[in-house]
């Protein structure tokens, strides 16, 4: 029995040593499985490494976004008029990318929410919190440009139909999330509550997408992201897709920059707490010194 226990302990010790050797090897090579790599996914979980990556990445993102936006604005300006809508079709080139991004940003936040709740990734709630104001802006723009397109085409700025109402609910959920982040002071507690709310809110995404198929609505059915070919003529489809890529790049740039700000904000908070602790311990030490012995 003693021999069995001894061999079991020996086996455990060897396993621990093997794991430690693998970790050391990973440190030496800068990656897992002994493959030397510049930056692994695990490295990205480290906020300092992430800040270093953003410092290198942001100039390229800003340049790429500016070039893409310039090209897409030129394509939108030179696109032909629609035979029915005339020049108002140009509103589509900004309304549709904003509407797509309003849902895409919530999908990004939902993935981040899973990262917070399931894997407790250190940057997941930073990503979610940074994305919320940007997503709210895109949703607001989708609603406003949709209204401005609706007035000449439908004869009304607003109609309480399924598509418009579900997007308005999405906008309110964005505002609710931003309010929640601001209401709870401790970021880790706020992150868990916000993650649950984000995942519940994700149920609205398929409702928005399929609302035009499920209910009678003034809004036209899907014409680009649909089964089969797009119903849009290439003269409109190409500027629209280029603008969608530009807006996605714009989101990526703003999101990375906002995540960097959020990491710095948490460092400020941590240092302020250290300052308060140091001050209060000094005060208590001083008051204990002044006590009569």
């Amino acid at each position: 029995m003693g021999g069995l226990l001894e061999s079991f302990l020996q086996h455990c010790l060897e396993s621990v040593n093997a794991i430690q050797q693998k970790r050391e090897a990973a440190k030496v090579y800068g990656g897992c499985n002994g493959y030397p790599r510049a930056m692994t996914l695990i490295d990205l979980a480290n906020p300092t490494k992430f800040l270093s990556l953003t410092a290198r990445l942001l100039p390229y993102l800003v340049t790429g976004t500016a070039i893409a936006l310039a090209i897409s604005l030129y394509l939108a300006a030179t696109a032909p008029d629609d035979y029915q809508q005339g020049a108002t079709v140009k509103i589509m080139f900004i309304h549709v990318p904003n509407a797509w991004l309003s849902m895409f940003v919530w999908a990004v936040m939902s993935a981040s929410a899973l990262g917070t709740l399931v894997w407790r990734h250190p940057l997941a709630d930073v990503a979610a919190k940074a994305a919320a104001p940007i997503g709210a802006s895109f949703t607001f723009l989708a609603l406003v440009t949709g209204s401005l397109w609706g007035r000449p085409m439908w004869g009304t700025y607003w109609e309480w139909d399924a598509r418009l109402t579900s997007v308005l609910i999405l906008f309110m959920m964005y505002l609710g999330l931003i309010a929640l982040w601001r209401a709870v002071e401790d970021p880790s507690r706020a992150a868990r509550a916000a993650a649950v709310l984000t995942l519940v809110g994700a149920l609205n995404l398929p409702i928005i997408k399929f609302s035009v198929d499920w209910w009678n609505t003034l809004h036209q059915p899907a014409s680009v992201l649909r089964m089969g070919r797009s119903t849009l003529d290439p003269a409109f489809l190409i500027p629209l897709l280029v603008m969608a890529v530009s807006f996605t790049l714009l989101f990526a740039t703003l999101h990375v920059a906002a995540m960097r700000n959020e990491i710095l904000r948490r460092r400020v908070r941590a240092l302020q707490m250290m300052q308060v602790c140091a001050t209060s311990s000094d005060v208590s030490a001083a008051s204990s010194d002044s006590q009569p012995v």
């Binding site: 020049a87 406003v144 401005l148």
Partner: protein
């Protein structure tokens, strides 16, 4: 380029989009400067991170 009878709707759509995107950019840039300034002030007052590294380092 003629925008037809609904030119005001088209121009307003593009202007509002440009304005909000510019506001977002300005807010993010301003926030970045504020956070860097607050970190510098805290470090100058003698508060350092537990790792001992500068909080403003990248």
């Amino acid at each position: 380029m003629s925008l037809g009878p609904y030119a005001s709707f088209i121009v307003t759509s593009y202007l509002i989009t440009a304005l909000l995107v510019l506001l977002l950019i300005a807010w993010i840039v301003n926030d970045y400067r504020n956070q860097r300034r607050r970190l510098r002030e805290l470090e100058e007052s003698g508060v350092v991170r537990r790792s001992g590294r500068s909080a403003t380092e990248r």
